[in-house]
Structure formats: structure tokens, C-alpha cells
């Protein structure tokens, strides 16, 4: 009697194990179909949470601010006012340079086409995802396609659209660890391949005598004035014939709330 029950249980456990393995294999082989079906359903459930979170984030003050000392707040306020005045001056200078750039391109017969940018809100920030990606609230319904470039503040390139749903899209960051991007560095457009190090940071290996300085801007290869970041540090040793150039995006990716997507393939 005992042996019969034990055999029966063992057979049931084996059947359960076989069923489980078959189910796992089916899920793994048809994973993209499974994720699109499951994801689509749960996205409908979770979208109100993201929208509410965005609304609360935009309409509430950081409560930790109440615990900051008055002196620190006054010092931070003065520093930000100085930074703002400097930035205003730089922006005026930039406007003149942009105007001159357009006039020169017009003379050469290379006028820029109108750029079709769409402003979208970030629903889920990069550090919340294992893949260092983030979700934006624009999708197929807004004409978004895979491969469209994503910018912060209009002209700082941060990533590209990796997958698109009806109302949302997932954006892959170029600065994600081990991702690569063709860039040009500095006034002499030194061509290089930048490798992402996460958090808006990149690393480039260049010959030691490459003419690069700290503060040089880094743009996307191809001649377009699309900024990726600025050189922060150059690491060079006498025994190494290469130097490591570290640069980072000039914006804080984890505090971004809005991005622009260029609807152009």
C-alpha cells in the first residue's frame, strides 16, 4: 500500500517536472511573442501608475528640502544665480554662432531640413531598469519607429528607440555599459569609437599624441552638430602608447523628465 502511494507520487512529480521543462522551453523559444502578449496586457494595468507618478513628481516639492540648513540653501542659490548668468551669456554667443552656421550652409547650398521632433515624458528612469533603458510616453500612435534618435534639451544625443508599443516606447542609452558609438572629438574632429560606461559616461582609447584637451566637445560622427558630451579627464601613462579619454554627457540622465525624439530615419 505504502509502496503504491509512493510510486504514484513519484510519477506525479515526474509528470509535473516534464510539463514544467516543456513549458519553459516553449517560453524560451517563443520569448518575443510571449513578452509582447504579456507585456501588452500588463502595460495597460501599469500605465496609470506611471502617469500618477509623473504627476506627483511634477507637482510636489522634494520633502528633504525642508531639512536643509538655511545657510546651505543661500549658498546654493547664489551659485546657481552665477551659473545662470554665465549660461545666459553662452547661449547668446551660441545663437550668433548658429545663425552664422545656417548662413554659411545656405551659401554652400546645404540647408538643414526641418527637424521633426516630438516632446515626450519619461515614464520610467534608466536606473530603474536592469537594461539601463527607459520608457517614454510616445509610441506607434505618435509615429515613433525603432531606431529614431532621442535627445535631451533639443540637441544632446542620449540614445535611440529600441522597441515601440502603441503608446509607449523603450529607449536604449548610448552610454549603457559596453555600447559603442562613433564620435568626433574636439576642434579637429578626431574620429573614435566611444564605449559606454553607464550613467552618461563614455570612454575612448586614442593614440597618445592625439590632440585632445579637457573640455573639448564630443559630437556624433558624420559632421552633424549633435553633441554627445564633453571631455572630463584624460588618463595617460608614459609606458602606454594609447591614452584613455573619459567624457560624459553634460546633463544628468537620472533627473531628466522630458526628452525629444527625432522622427527621422
Amino acid at each position: 500500500m505504502m509502496n503504491y502511494h509512493s510510486r504514484d507520487n513519484k510519477k506525479r512529480n515526474n509528470n509535473k517536472r516534464v510539463f514544467f521543462i516543456i513549458l519553459l522551453l516553449v517560453i524560451i523559444f517563443f520569448y518575443s511573442e510571449v513578452t509582447s502578449v504579456v507585456g501588452g496586457f500588463f502595460r495597460i494595468l501599469v500605465s496609470p501608475i506611471w502617469i500618477s507618478e509623473k504627476y506627483i513628481d511634477e507637482n510636489t516639492i522634494n520633502p528633504l528640502g525642508y531639512f536643509a540648513s538655511k545657510k546651505n540653501l543661500l549658498v546654493a542659490n547664489e551659485m546657481m544665480k552665477d551659473d545662470l548668468e554665465t549660461t545666459k551669456a553662452l547661449v547668446s554667443d551660441r545663437k550668433i554662432l548658429v545663425k552664422e552656421n545656417y548662413e554659411l550652409k545656405d551659401i554652400l547650398g546645404r540647408v538643414d531640413e526641418n527637424q521633426d521632433m516630438i516632446l515626450t515624458a519619461i515614464l520610467s528612469k534608466p536606473n530603474f531598469s536592469l537594461y539601463d533603458s527607459f520608457i517614454v510616453d510616445a509610441g506607434e500612435n505618435d509615429g515613433i519607429k525603432k531606431g529614431f534618435r532621442v535627445f535631451a534639451f533639443g540637441n544632446i544625443l542620449i540614445g535611440e528607440v529600441d522597441s515601440v508599443n502603441k503608446k509607449t516606447s523603450v529607449v536604449k542609452l548610448y552610454s549603457s555599459f559596453d555600447e559603442q558609438l562613433q564620435v568626433e572629438i574636439g576642434l579637429y574632429n578626431v574620429n573614435a569609437v566611444a564605449t559606454g560606461r553607464g550613467g552618461g559616461n563614455f570612454e575612448v582609447r586614442l593614440p597618445r599624441d592625439a590632440d585632445i584637451e579637457i573640455g573639448d566637445f564630443v559630437s556624433v560622427a558624420g559632421g552633424s552638430p549633435v553633441v554627445v558630451g564633453f571631455v572630463e579627464e584624460i588618463i595617460s601613462t608614459p609606458i602606454d602608447s594609447f591614452k584613455t579619454v573619459l567624457f560624459r554627457s553634460s546633463i544628468n540622465l537620472f533627473e531628466l523628465k522630458w526628452v525629444q525624439i527625432l522622427r527621422q530615419e
Binding site: 517560453i27 520569448y31 513578452t35 520610467s124 522597441s163 523603450v170 555600447e179
Partner: protein
């Protein structure tokens, strides 16, 4: 039995909420807690699939696989189940 089911449902809802709101490692910790606390916590695989469907992108670091969360849950499920068999309290 009834309290167990209620706790399990509350945990499931909280894990789904945490996938949307909290960092990925917090959600994975909750999933591992669920696997530890309950027998046959198969909904953990569904949560792995949800995380991949929401955030999955092809990345060189992950060899262009978009099933990293699911694999992580699968490995955790296997190891935690084996550990539970060897613990006296289970």
C-alpha cells in the same frame, strides 16, 4: 491556508507595483522572497517576463538577449528551491 493565499495575492500585487515604480533590484529581491516563502511560486516567471517586456533592449553586454530578468528568476527559483529542501524549517 486562507491567510497564505491573501498574503500571496498582496505580495503579487506589490511586486507588480514595484516593477513599475521601484528599481529592478528591489523587485527581484521581492520575487526571491516570494519564492522562499511560498511553495510553487510560479508567478515569479510571469514577473520576469513582465520586466523583460517593459524594459528589455538588445544590449551587447547581455549578448543581445532580452530575457535576462526571466533567466535570473529561473536560476533563483532553482537555487532557492534547492536551499529550501535542505532547511529544517521547511
Amino acid at each position: 491556508m486562507g491567510t497564505d493565499i491573501k498574503t500571496r495575492i498582496i505580495l503579487d500585487i506589490f511586486i507588480l507595483f514595484s516593477i513599475a515604480v521601484f528599481p529592478w533590484w528591489f523587485s527581484l529581491i521581492l520575487i526571491i522572497v516570494g519564492i522562499f516563502k511560498f511553495n510553487d511560486f510560479y508567478e515569479a516567471f510571469v514577473f520576469g517576463i513582465i520586466m523583460d517586456s517593459f524594459f528589455g533592449v538588445q544590449r551587447k553586454f547581455f549578448m543581445n538577449f532580452e530575457c535576462i530578468s526571466f533567466l535570473f528568476v529561473l536560476i533563483s527559483f532553482f537555487f532557492v528551491t534547492q536551499i529550501k529542501k535542505r532547511l529544517r524549517i521547511y
